[in-house]
């Protein structure tokens, strides 16, 4: 089940990139993810601008995916190494993704600002969690801008916190997502 869910965003992306889809589908033109963990002893933060994703307005479906190894901007190379090897195990779980459906009905053809919630599966560290994520959406000239902030509980995704660094890692990670989407 987990494995299936794990590959779902890839399928969706693959599907979307094939021809024959609705011309109204949107693709991320530029997107970034940053996260920060305000642990008592050490602030860990990093960002990546390699966010990929799709929104299919007709089906109210979407998928976003990020290569975990593309996160940069750690305090030290050692921190990055720990992030990839100890916590995220990015060799084993190279991507993080969120795919699902938009709860609200919004008209993507109409310019405006919307607050939208989406219900989907958040896959981090190979563990899928169903989540509702709220985001702000601005639609202008058939371009979509999305901002979202949400938290990830490390325990939800089986991300181990070694006792020694317990103080270094907050049990909650704050994630900021920014994406610009345009019709493919």
């Amino acid at each position: 089940m987990r494995r299936q869910l794990f590959i779902l965003p890839f399928l969706l992306l693959a599907l979307a990139f094939k021809s024959g889809n609705s011309p109204q589908d949107y693709k991320v033109s530029s997107g970034s993810i940053s996260f920060r963990s305000d642990a008592p002893l050490e602030l860990i933060k990093a960002q990546s601008s390699e966010l990929k994703g799709l929104v299919l307005p007709e089906k109210k479906q979407f998928a976003f995916i990020i290569n975990v190894k593309t996160f940069k901007g750690f305090n030290s190379p050692l921190q990055q190494e720990h992030f990839n090897e100890n916590y995220m195990e990015s060799n084993k779980f190279p991507v993080a993704s969120f795919e699902g459906k938009i709860i609200e009905d919004i008209d993507f053809t109409k310019d405006g600002e919307y607050s939208v919630r989406s219900k989907g599966n958040l896959n981090i560290h190979g563990v899928v969690q169903e989540r509702i994520i709220k985001c702000d959406v601005i639609i202008k000239n058939k371009n979509i801008s999305i901002w979202s902030t949400f938290t990830v509980l490390l325990a939800d995704h089986n991300i181990p916190i070694p006792k020694v660094v317990h103080e270094k890692l907050a049990s909650e990670i704050k994630v900021d997502v920014k994406a610009e989407l345009a019709i493919k």
């Binding site: 919630r117 509702i132 939800d156």
Partner: protein
């Protein structure tokens, strides 16, 4: 009566009676603002008992009299409340039409938004599951639940049959049942794993559209349907049961359901509120309905058993299960009822002017049967009815004695075997077991002992007549009563009580404390105490030793008491013209059911009240026969609640705030005695322990205590329906106002110690200073004396004059200088005499003058060398004549001649000491000195400086080292 004669005795008159009936005690409340009513969307009762109304204008609390708006933290947002809930930590949750969520903190609603956001559609219901997670249903987005600090959504993706969810209910196994437009959805959640089963028409549900789900005991639920009425769903065996009554539903949509002790209550769109007793088996005909209002919503039972509902613009309450007006309405008959009886089959017998009538219920249809009795006319008063252990009916009459009737055949006979009863006027007929008791005019009192022979009415009865009871004579006997201990009680009209116990009569009257000797009826409570009511003095309780009176002071509402009965729960039912008082014999608490609950015009005939086999009380009233159903839900006292506590009009948290600073001292307590049955009747007593010593009675619900002094306080408040507060519900709030720190004992002691210490130090230092001053003064005087003595000593003058003489001869001009110097010297001595210190410069000048005078004498044999900076001369001070004296000493104690030159050297050492040193030229005959001069210098320096004077004789030098004094 003519007719009756002509037809056989067994002729029965049977009539069907109209079943229309109203619910007893309907009261209606409107929530108005500027005369515009708000719609109440939802009703909710907290565990404490408060009713909340969610309206188009926000959330209101309702205390039975007034609606009070609960403010929100953002008053600008006007939102419609669509759901209210209290979780098991007493946290109130509110859901809005906009999808907003709020929680109540103290008296304020705080909007909050989870990270996941809030729905965009109305919140319809809340629920707390077995893991204490909070769920809420929406009208269009499905069901949300909080789990592990995230919010999860159940919608069609998980298999929810419809996103429009109207109600939620929790099953015994932890499943959540959701009422949707498309059947019942059974949600089994394990963490984030969701499993949804849909229960629809293919499972036997009569309707797709589910409007309501209400728990109905034993994991069974009442299901409200849009078109097909209602049904039962049992979650244990997944069975759906459609009651016969709902078989052919044509009363419109069911908006709400309620399952109470005795009934199923159904709020309908088209047929008002409907009540169905024995819902599982009842037929449609059994519905009791109130048809004057439609579109009933939101059923709720308060803690006193009242049923509440809403219409479009009103909140309505009814007496609920506790009062039922039997739907047998025959006004002509009711007006002539003297006595009623509920028999062992729950048939109701009425003794009327027209004879005795039996009312029998089958389904919801009541039929009546008249039992004609020859010899009774419409002028014959039937005073009492009694059913004996063989089910035969006894009736007592005025002037015609006692008849006994076989209820099956209708056959009857007059009890003629007892001559005392012939044409007698009997006032009451009671009994227990095999005993039947009758009492009447002229002291008639008869006890019948039934035997097996008396199964039929034909056999003669065995009886004992008590026609010559001592102290009673030919007075009326209102009632005869046999108690559980076998004693027989006779209540008389004016002669008190006589009791027959083990063959002996005992009499009780004024001398035993009875204020009234007219005794109307007896009853016995569960503890075996005998209760009776009197004509004017209320009721009495006799516990085999004393008579305890309950009158107006104890809370009896009306002293004109008709009769007294014991109900199923053991409470005393005291009947008066306007209703009943319910007295708890254990606590003495009295509650009232009267006009406010729908009782009016109670028949005042003593025997017009009876108890049925279930222990319910039947009253004959102007509106028909009313049944009072005792229930543990019918609480007899108001629930006291401290609504909020304010400190300087700002609300505090009564759970956490108990300690206040000395200036936080003005409190206001707002409280409510919740009693929805009759809120106007609630009285309060309060006491602020620490300030008041006794209880203060009030009707106010807000009591301010301004400017309280520091101390420990306990606020007590209790509420009661009458002036009897003995068993009143009491709540307390303990708080402490701290003593300001300057009034605390440690501070006072510390202050005293510090002040004392300072004073001590001051005095000590002053004393020291004074001593020093005195010493200085003394030294100074001694020194002056010494100096003067030295200078006016004849040697000095003699030597000076000799020098002068020799100079005058050689050099008169120099002599003039000499004299000038000499006078300068003496003038300076006089000038500096009174000073403690003078500058070093001044002293050096003085010393130079002296030296000049001496040098004239010794010439070059005397050398003075001064190595002192000009700066030091200005900054440095010495006691006057110190250096002079030391130079003088040097000259005095040493030989001065050309062979032995005396060289005096004055210099400083590291700016802190002034040294005066001379070489030692011992004299052949040493000068005898007092040593006082040097000692005096040492003493003075000891007072003026911390450093002392050092004197030493080394390497042939005599050196005095003085500490340098600086200002």
């Amino acid at each position: 009566m003519l007719l009756i004669k002509k037809i056989p005795l067994v002729l029965l008159l049977i009539t069907g009676i109209n079943c229309a009936a109203q619910f007893a005690g309907s009261r209606s409340f409107k929530l108005l603002d500027d005369n515009r009513p708000f719609k109440i969307n939802t009703l909710f009762k907290t565990r404490e008992g408060y009713i909340y109304a969610g309206t188009t204008n926000g959330l209101y609390s309702f205390d039975g009299k007034n609606f009070k708006l609960i403010n929100t933290n953002t008053p600008a947002i006007k939102d419609t409340v669509t759901a209210v809930f209290e979780d098991n930590r007493s946290q109130i949750w509110v859901g809005y039409k906009s999808g907003r969520l709020a929680k109540k903190t103290k008296s304020l609603l705080q909007y909050f938004e989870p990270e996941e956001g809030t729905p965009k559609v109305a919140i319809t219901a809340f629920l707390q599951d077995k893991q204490n997670n909070i769920w809420f249903a929406t009208n269009g987005e499905g069901i949300y639940y909080f789990y592990n600090s995230h919010l999860y959504l159940i919608n069609e993706e998980e298999g929810l049959s419809d996103k429009y969810v109207h109600a939620l209910a929790l099953a015994a196994n932890g499943d959540v049942l959701a009422a949707t437009d498309q059947g019942i959805n059974i949600c089994s959640i394990n963490g984030a794993n969701k499993k949804i089963d849909v229960l629809g028409p293919k499972n036997g549900l009569p309707d797709y559209y589910i409007t309501a789900i209400q728990p109905a005991g034993n994991n069974s639920f009442l299901i409200g349907l849009q078109e097909k009425g209602f049904c039962f769903y049992n979650h244990s065996n997944k069975q759906i049961t459609i009651p016969a009554a709902a078989g052919n539903w044509n009363y419109g949509q069911v908006n709400a359901l309620l399952y109470t002790q005795n009934n199923v209550w159904i709020a309908t769109e088209a047929n008002g509120l409907m009540k169905l007793p024995d819902a599982a088996t009842a037929a449609a005909a059994d519905f009791i309905t109130s048809t004057n209002k439609n579109n009933i919503n939101n059923l709720l039972q308060d803690n006193e058993g009242n049923i509440w509902m809403t219409t479009t613009s009103e909140l309505i309450s009814t007496a609920g299960d506790k009062l039922n007006l039997l739907p047998i309405y025959d006004k002509a008959v009711y007006e002539t009822i003297h006595t009623i009886l509920s028999d062992y089959q729950n048939n109701i017998w009425a003794g009327t002017d027209g004879g005795i009538i039996k009312y029998t219920r089958s389904a919801n249809q009541w039929t009546s049967r008249l039992y004609p009795i020859k010899g009774l006319t419409s002028f014959t008063d039937i005073t009492g009815l009694y059913q004996d252990m063989y089910h035969n009916i006894w009736l007592s009459t005025m002037g015609e004695g006692i008849f006994v009737v076989d209820p099956v055949t209708g056959k009857y006979r007059n009890i003629s075997e007892n001559p005392l009863l012939k044409k007698a006027s009997i006032l009451s007929i009671t009994g227990t077991g095999n005993t039947v008791c009758a009492g009447g005019l002229e002291g008639v009192a008869t006890i019948f002992q039934l035997s097996e022979l008396n199964v039929t009415i034909n056999a003669n009865y065995t009886f004992t007549n008590y026609d010559s009871i001592p102290n009673v004579g030919n007075n009326y006997i209102h009632t005869v009563f046999k108690d559980s201990k076998g004693r027989i009680w006779f209540g008389t009209d004016g002669k008190g009580i006589t009791v027959l116990e083990k063959g002996r009569f005992k009499h009780f009257d004024k001398t035993n404390g009875l204020k009234d000797e007219h005794v109307y009826s007896f009853t016995e409570d569960k503890k075996g105490c005998i209760w009776f009511n009197t004509k004017d003095a209320g009721v009495y309780c006799y516990n085999d030793t004393v008579f305890k009176n309950f009158g107006a002071a104890q809370g009896i509402s009306d002293l004109k008491i008709t009769t007294i009965k014991t109900d199923r729960l053991g409470n005393l039912i005291i009947v008066n013209e306007n209703g009943i008082d319910i007295l708890d014999p254990v606590t003495g608490t009295i509650a009232y059911i009267n006009n406010n609950q729908g009782i009016t015009g109670v028949n005042t005939a003593i025997e017009s009240v009876c108890t049925d086999i279930a222990g319910n009380i039947l009253l004959s009233t102007e509106n028909g026969i009313l049944v009072y159903t005792p229930s543990a839900k019918n609480i007899l006292r108001p629930k006291t609640i401290i609504d909020n506590i304010q400190l300087f009009l700002k609300e505090i948290d009564p759970v956490t705030d108990h300690h206040f600073k000395y200036d936080e001292n003005s409190f206001t307590f707002n409280f409510t005695g919740l009693y929805y049955t009759n809120p106007e009747q609630v009285h309060y007593q309060y006491k602020l322990e620490g300030l008041d010593t006794s209880w203060v009675s009030t009707k106010d619900q807000s009591i301010p205590f301004p400017n309280l002094r520091p101390g420990k306080y306990v606020f007590h408040v209790r509420s009661s329906l009458n002036d009897n507060f003995n068993n009143a519900d009491e709540v307390t709030y303990t708080f402490v106002i701290e003593t300001p720190f300057w009034k605390r004992i440690w501070f006072i002691i510390l202050s005293i110690l510090i002040v004392g210490g300072l004073l001590y130090w001051y005095m000590k230092s002053r004393e020291k200073h004074l001593n020093k001053m005195q010493l200085l003064h003394q030294e100074k005087v001694e020194f002056q004396f010494q100096v003067l003595r030295n200078q006016v000593n004849p040697h000095f003058l003699f030597n000076s004059f000799n020098t002068l003489i020799s100079t005058i001869e050689d050099n008169p001009k120099a002599a003039v200088d000499y004299v000038e110097q000499l006078s300068e010297f003496f003038r300076n001595i006089v000038n500096y005499r009174d000073k403690d210190v003078i500058s070093l410069g001044e002293e050096l000048q003085l010393m130079n003058t002296y030296f000049y005078l001496q040098q004239k004498r010794y010439g070059n044999s005397l050398v003075l060398k001064i190595d002192i900076s000009d700066q030091l001369k200005k900054d440095c001070f010495v006691p006057p004549l110190t250096l002079q004296l030391l130079v003088e000493n040097a000259i005095k104690h040493n030989a001065v001649s050309k062979e032995s030159i005396l060289s005096i050297h004055l210099y400083t050492e590291t700016d802190s000491r002034l040294l005066i040193s001379n070489n030692i030229n011992p004299k052949i005959s040493p000068e005898k000195g007092t040593g006082m001069g040097l000692q005096n210098i040492i003493n003075r320096y000891n007072i003026l400086s911390e450093n002392s004077v050092l004197v030493n004789t080394e390497n042939g030098h005599f050196t005095v080292s003085l500490p340098i004094l600086k200002k």
